[in-house]
Symmetry: C2
Subunit: 446 residues, 2 copies
């Protein structure tokens, strides 16, 4: 009988993160200071990040130790299972072998806690008393709340106002772990008050929430800011995913031909795929596929250019695939993939053809999610369903290949979007061509 699970022991939880910067066949373009337009210095970030994370952000050391205190919390849910999707294979009548890494088993139901825990740890160690962050649907806010609680840090989450009211359940998680959740735009910050003065009924956006969280951190010596994706140190922490997958594939006696994950900012994709970049450089037949929503086609329809990380143009300029920092994606239900840019690391790997990108439609990802829930029994997050959709496509097209994807999270807190899909209320979105053109015209000159 074929095995369906590949489980590691506690001792197999990685004790080091893997830094792909040490093995890249190219130089990563540096971040640029938004004022001076010169390469960013570590000190430019010290008002909002602890030095340990700034160093990791700029490090080229291949292996970076996981602190014991972080490892000790990782083991509440790590190592996560690698599962063989035998029942999905059967449903597809495929000759391919399909595996998935199950990151949905974390306290908050997604991979996000892999980085929230070390971020909270390093801030605590450097004497910070509380963290600020932004959150849309709440996945990141919940993960940071869990981590801050574990280290006795305060946490203030600026949550986009429309989600604050419409998606109360990840807010409940944040409250359970003791965070303060503020509907953004708020009266708490200058930028919030300025927005509310212009439009008292403003429903908020991720860009506005970032501005509020960064402002609070920058103005308060005992507070720092925390980001859940995009940056190098975030992807670094996430490499525990791919490092475990490598061990588990060895247990399975199998080798990936296809590695597939979804991309919003790029953190679950990076964590899953970066430990395999060296394999790809040796064997170009290995395909590493980033999946994005066609409604927000950063990697497939964007340009590789310096841009701001936020809509308010406050962040450093990052060389990345971008749709323009003013691009406003349609309201797809994979909220975690509605980002105008992408991690500079992942963008560079795409630009150098080491990673392939593909965009898929909303209705197709829900169809794939349903097939997965019916065959494998896990209701996936809409974000993760992007990876499932492409894994299914590959398994249908190829013969005898090994297909591995990352299940970044479960859908227990996304069931309202399934209701909408099942009742026929969801739609695909035409490629937002004119919106992209308009936003790309406002790219900064570097």
């Amino acid at each position: 009988m074929k095995r369906s699970k590949f489980l590691l022991f506690e001792k197999d939880i990685p004790s080091q993160w893997y830094n792909v910067a040490a093995d890249l066949p190219f130089q990563l373009p540096p971040p640029i200071h938004p004022g001076t337009r010169k390469p960013l210095q570590p000190s430019d970030l010290s008002a909002i990040f602890p030095m340990a994370l700034i160093k990791q952000e700029m490090s080229s050391r291949r292996w970076i130790d996981v602190p014991q205190e972080v490892w000790d919390i990782y083991r509440l849910w790590r190592p996560t299972p690698l599962k063989r999707a035998l029942r999905l294979e059967k449903a597809l009548k495929t000759t391919c072998r399909i595996y998935y890494k199950d990151e949905s088993v974390s306290p908050t139901g997604s991979h996000k806690t892999n980085t929230s825990v070390p971020q909270a740890y390093y801030n605590k160690k450097e004497g910070i008393k509380r963290l600020t962050t932004e959150t849309g649907a709440g996945q990141w806010g919940a993960a940071l709340s869990f981590a801050c609680n574990a280290f006795g840090l305060g946490c203030r989450v600026y949550m986009v106002k429309v989600s604050f009211h419409q998606k109360p359940f990840r807010r409940s998680l944040m409250h359970i772990w003791g965070s303060e959740v503020i509907a953004s735009p708020s009266e708490e910050t200058e930028s919030g008050r300025a927005i509310l003065k212009r439009d008292p009924h403003c429903q908020g956006s991720l860009g506005m929430a970032i501005s509020e969280a960064v402002e609070e951190a920058a103005k308060n010596k005992d507070a720092n800011y925390s980001l859940g994706s995009v940056l190098n140190h975030v992807l670094l922490h996430q490499t525990v995913i791919g490092l475990e997958v490598k061990k588990q594939m060895a247990m399975a006696g199998d080798k990936p031909d296809f590695l597939i994950a979804c991309v919003g900012g790029g953190s679950n994709f990076g964590g899953f795929a970066l430990p395999f970049v060296k394999d790809k450089l040796k064997n170009n037949k290995l395909k590493i596929i980033a999946v994005e929503p066609s409604a927000c086609p950063t990697l497939t329809k964007g340009v590789y250019h310096y841009d701001f990380g936020d809509t308010a143009s406050l962040t450093p300029l990052l060389k990345m695939f971008t749709l323009g920092h003013n691009f406003m994606p349609p309201g797809i239900h994979a909220g975690g993939l509605r980002y105008h840019g992408a991690s500079p690391l992942i963008s560079a790997l795409c630009a150098h053809k080491i990673v392939d990108a593909v965009a898929v439609e909303q209705l197709d990802i829900f169809k794939a999610a349903l097939l997965f829930a019916k065959s494998e029994g896990i209701v996936p997050a809409p974000e993760s369903a992007h990876a499932i959709k492409v894994a299914i496509d590959v398994a249908k097209k190829e013969r005898n290949k090994c297909v591995v994807f990352n299940l970044s999270g479960h859908g227990f807190l996304d069931l309202a979007s399934y209701d909408k899909y099942l009742s026929g209320e969801l739609q695909n979105y035409a490629h937002p061509v004119s919106e992209i053109k308009r936003a790309l015209k406002q790219l900064p000159q570097v």
Copy 2:
């Protein structure tokens, strides 16, 4: 370093269920026919149950094989982890060792799929085309939907109307797995129509939903009825929990002094504790504790007497601890524990002092749940929090003891009740003394 997880391999998933009837030091009182008032015959049940399950219900064989087709679905989430709650121990500053079996990792988030899968399997094998059942908050309806989908059976779930409208998310799960969900009372059945004629705005009850589901199954040759707790065969299927725990405690090199689980109908408690009954008979120092809500104190304030399983007096009479089949418990948030009776097996074990029962208050269980979520990272279902509360009490009081409890499910779909607790809207309930007295007056004569 102390280990925090005890993981079994796929091959360790039990291939046989354990039937405690073979080892009881007493005769279990038989179920009684509601009409003739004579001991129930297998044929009395054949209109709504398949013969394989009726045989299991009445069997005294110690070990009953898990069919390969069932085992093959169990392994989607089984074996489940046994975890050492090191961080909870630290928070309590206890010298006790606390372990918990994590049944929250199933497709629907609770232990219920352990029995829904074999129930669907045996019905399919005997030519049944669809199952009917009732559900309150939806935990059982979701589990049966998952199982029916796996075997290509139709499934009609009568869901208590007030929950149908107020708790839409487990309904979403049922829809994902292809079930039809009907708000009860409905126009679909005679009993539903009769209720609606008397009261068109009736919000329904579990008793009414049972009547509708049983009626539909009894009237249709190709349909059977399925129950998620109380009966012997349901507890039999759940023994996979305790059988795994035994192996895992051996891995841990430890032996339970206290075994703790919550009781509604008794299925998670039975599945967890029944494999340890023989140990208790040999060593009376082992404490097996059933935890119930003080708002529905069946085992601690009820009487051990024959009673109906439903409010409409349609089911066989079962000898059990009961508050009277007309008892209406207050609206506590542990919906799965709001049952007037308890499994005849568990009731007999309580009557014979093999199992101890304790009742706890709503505010205390949420306080315990929060401490657990903050230390161990899992937000528990309010039902499971009853076990956590007593495990904490024991660990605070005892020294150097081994405390093991069953985490029957997670709380991702119960976050609204956490919101109410955190905002101070929840309350305890006085022991419903007069309501119990009134209901006990209506016990049937046997």
